[in-house]
Amino acid sequence: MAEAHNRRRFAPHATCALVAAIVGSAWLAPGSAAATHPTERAIVRIQNHAQRGDWYAPWSASAPRQSVGSGFVVEGGLVMTNAHVVSDTRMLLIHVNGDPRPHEARVRWVGHDCDLALIEPLEPDLLDGVTPLRFGGMPKLGSSVETYGYPSGGQRISSTRGIVSRIEMNLFSHSGLDYHLTVQTDAAINPGNSGGPVLQGGRVVGVAFQAATALENVGFFIPTEVVRHFLEDVEDGHHAGYPALGVTTSNLENPAARRRAGLAADESGVRVDFVFPDGASEGLLQPGDVILELDGHDIANDGTIREGDIRLHFGVLLDRHQVGDVAHTRVLRAGEHLDVRVRMTTYPPLARYANTFDTLPRYYVYAGLVFVPFDREIMKTNGKNWMSKADKHLLYEFFHRFMDEPESMQREPVLLLRRLDHPANANMAWHRNLIVDKVNGQTIDRLEDVIEAIETNQQTHHEFEFEYFGRFGVLERDAAERGHAEVLERYAVPEDRRL
């Protein structure tokens, strides 16, 4: 969907595997130096007992799972790690290097969009004797770095060395949607390494977080500028995430396209294709505008900016802003050069395209009909290959509809997910994976609208109209009202809703 400078876009086939170990298989973990080394003292092993909601049976939870990752002590008695190491936690334990006892911890801050988290031990003085690691800058291409962590759940610390091989914007597979700057290395980053520090000259230059599944010996770490953004973001006691410009752009590599856009021979930029309704740029930027400069950096026709010796996608500049900051753009519109200041906001409608963590699914069950918000988690109930196997109308609704009908973006689409069979509903012809258009004649823009339309209805029937193919169905209201409680009891649904 949006280009990388919205920092969020679809990754049809994520190629990166998160590297928190789910189950430890045999893995050689050479304990390197003595555990008394100050760097190694700061590296902790994190054990997370997590439990996620079950989006297919949203009233119940999935089985708890245990995973292991790494972390490191930073200033303030906190431990930095990946968000995916501590997601959906019910019981979080840290093992300080050299201390045989596990210690309970809790999540202080988590950024699922940048896969970073800060956790703190419940015992406030636990880390007093540990020297926090200090952050460095961006390592140079070709320089060597060391990773530290507890790969594959081993009990002892392990370190590996590798070369910085690439610096670029990449998909963060934890959220499945966000793009930020990453550093690629051939230092082994394996399950369990997640959250461990990557060091150069004794300073942390990144946090190990994911590996490429399609390539061998390719690991990625989160560079310090992304880490710093997270740390600055939470300074005010609130995690706001990343701001979005709220446009999509396309490159202007074709000379004719540049001329038509009115660019002079020495000018370059990218074309605005789409402006998100109610996004930060609405009313400020228009389709057809060419963004020439962003925050004083010239944008090349391929959408990159110069950054020292390398070129990076211009989205990296937006990433350096916090929500509420102003991005300064220089824009060419109909032959005129304009300075456009965009105060950047988050774009909440995009949340439905990301993986959900730490919250349980919203739902409403009425007379056995299970209504849920339509989002990525619901799409994932179609199995691992949901991006190709899900019902085609759901794929259209998820991936394409908002492009054809931008105003649809403001709605929370509601899905009739399935039916818990009961005589009150058993003859409904359509009862699975249907986007709800109207209930009792009322347009549905969010889950609460379904409840209101049902609870205020005085007619003999409830009428459900679905998007696509003219499908619809009804329930007899009396039978539905009578059956409602019975369905809940029969299918062990403790509450008819979670909102």
Partner: protein
């Protein structure tokens, strides 16, 4: 083709009738072997064809004398050879008539002496509903005779057509069938094998075959088979029939949509309950009680014994009361769709402009992703097919796409553009490669502007109009494209008025 064929057939039929009194001929005098070399188009580079391949299949002798087989057997044929009993020599044949909607074709053999010693099959009056039939084919010049047990009759469409009619489902002991093997009972033709999975086969029934042969020979020319193009659902839900006010037990089928150009367009409406068609009561799961086949889908009524233009009566429950109306039966060819499923062997129309390959989105293009195309083709195209395949309208007759780009410095920046839906070219809506060519003749000032349907990549492709001719010529030469364009070969059908007008 039919216009040319019919007068001749009228004569030959008479001749054949004179000799029809022969005693029952043996299978080897009625069944012949086909070897069809065929070649499909390369849908990605539509000016070329893929490597040829061959299918082996069966045909039966019918009066004419002609050979009858399934249309699919001879699709994209470049050479058709026939072999008859006791004769190693291949004879050349060609397609005399074909109806791909119901999947039947007639072949002429160039040398009429081929038919010496062969006898036309006799047609049974209807398919049996129980018992066994005999399936026959040539296999390595040996006649292979298998036994097939009737399991049931089912109303369905063939894989490529729209026409829903009954099929005879059998369990056969003839392995690897599905290639138009004929089936007989009491020496009379019952059907041709339409498809076979393991040992379960579907036979294209003799009733359809007889109607086809009759229609081919009709003096007024071939009119084809009508189809009740309508989207419907079961109506078993008591709550729903109560909601719609239908008294009594649930019955009839609930109409969800009609399609422009289809028989029911303008006659039926969404939320109608179709209770009766042509005097047959329809039950809540869409079955009628057929005098011979028992419970079958009501759509059979529109096909059996019906010609395009015939009128059938319908009784519907609409707005709280029963009304009687009339449906004029029409064909609904693949071309009536926005995204046609078949192209019936026609070469793909294309236009290469500045290296951009334009063409219509259709079934053959989607099927280049293989039998699993619905999961492997780009979701932008698959979802459009799923949601809009039938949504043709006079202002929107085809979805045109840029299928890919032949890279050149002229189209720099667009080399990766592929499989994108085109919204307009130089401000004009485009429904055919001809429209696109015409639009390129009228640039927007110095530029050609191809506007694409929105997605996360390019919204528009801009090309230099002044360089267009020279660049296009250079690109065609570099990539060895023989011609910049192949026009649309199949005329678009008359869609008629919108259904709700």
């Amino acid at each position: 083709m039919s216009h040319r064929l019919a007068p001749r057939l009228a004569v030959t039929v008479l001749l054949a009738l004179a000799g029809a009194a022969n005693a029952a001929a043996s299978f080897d005098e009625q069944v012949v072997a086909l070897s069809v070399t065929f070649q499909t188009w390369n849908e990605g580079r539509p000016w070329t064809k893929n490597n040829p391949a061959r299918r082996l299949a069966s045909a039966v002798v019918v009066e004419g004398p002609l050979l009858l087989t399934r249309a699919q057997i001879v699709s994209n044929a470049t050479l058709i050879h026939v072999e008859r009993r006791g004769d190693a020599r291949p004879w050349s044949a060609r397609v005399a008539h074909v109806d791909r909607e119901i999947d039947l074709a007639l072949l002429e053999v160039e040398d009429p002496t081929f038919f010496e010693g062969l006898e036309p099959v006799r047609l049974a009056s209807s398919v049996p509903t129980e018992g066994s039939v005999t399936s026959v084919r040539w296999n390595e010049r040996q006649l292979e005779v298998g036994n097939s047990r009737v399991s049931k009759i089912e109303v369905a469409t063939n894989r490529y057509g729209n026409v829903e009619h009954h099929y005879l489902l059998v369990r056969t002991d003839l392995e690897g069938g599905g290639w138009a093997e004929p089936a007989f009972r009491k020496r009379k033709l019952i059907g041709l094998t339409a498809s076979q999975e393991n040992l379960s086969a579907r036979l294209l029934p003799v009733e359809i075959i007889a109607a086809y042969l009759e229609r081919v020979r009709a003096p007024g020319g071939y009119r084809g088979f009508p189809y009740l193009e309508v989207v419907w659902q079961n109506n078993q839900d008591r709550a729903l029939t109560g909601f719609l006010g239908l008294p009594g037990e649930p019955r009839g089928v609930l109409i969800r949509a009609t399609r422009r150009g289809g028989s029911t367009c303008g006659a039926l409406r969404p939320r109608d309950i179709l209770i009766e068609l042509d005097g047959h009561a329809i039950d809540a799961i869409g079955n009628i009680t057929h005098p011979r086949y028992g419970q079958v889908h009501f759509t059979q009524i529109a096909v059996e014994g019906k010609l395009p233009g015939d009128r059938v009566s319908a009784r519907v429950w609409r707005d709280g009361r029963e009304i009687d109306l009339e449906i004029v039966l029409r064909t609904y060819p693949s071309e009536a769709r926005l995204i046609p499923w078949r192209r019936d062997g026609a070469a793909p129309a294309y236009f290469v402009a500045g290296g951009l390959i334009f063409r219509a989105l259709d079934g053959p293009f989607l099927r280049t992703w293989g039998s699993n195309w619905a999961e492997s083709a780009p979701s932008e195209l698959v979802t459009r097919y799923h949601l809009q395949a039938h949504a043709q309208a006079p202002e929107r007759r085809r979805l045109m796409i840029v299928s890919s780009v032949l890279p050149d410095r002229y189209n720099l920046g667009y080399h990766g553009v592929a499989r994108r839906i085109v919204e307009s070219v130089n401000g004009q809506a485009v429904n055919s490669v001809e429209d696109i060519a015409a639009a390129f003749a009228a640039p927007e000032g110095e530029f050609h502007v191809v506007r694409l349907a929105p997605n996360s990549e390019f919204r528009e492709l801009v090309l230099d109009a002044t360089e267009f001719e020279t660049a296009s010529k250079r690109i065609l030469e570099a990539y060895d494209v023989p011609a910049p364009m192949r026009g649309s070969q199949t005329p678009l059908p008359d869609l008629g008025p919108a259904c709700d007008s």
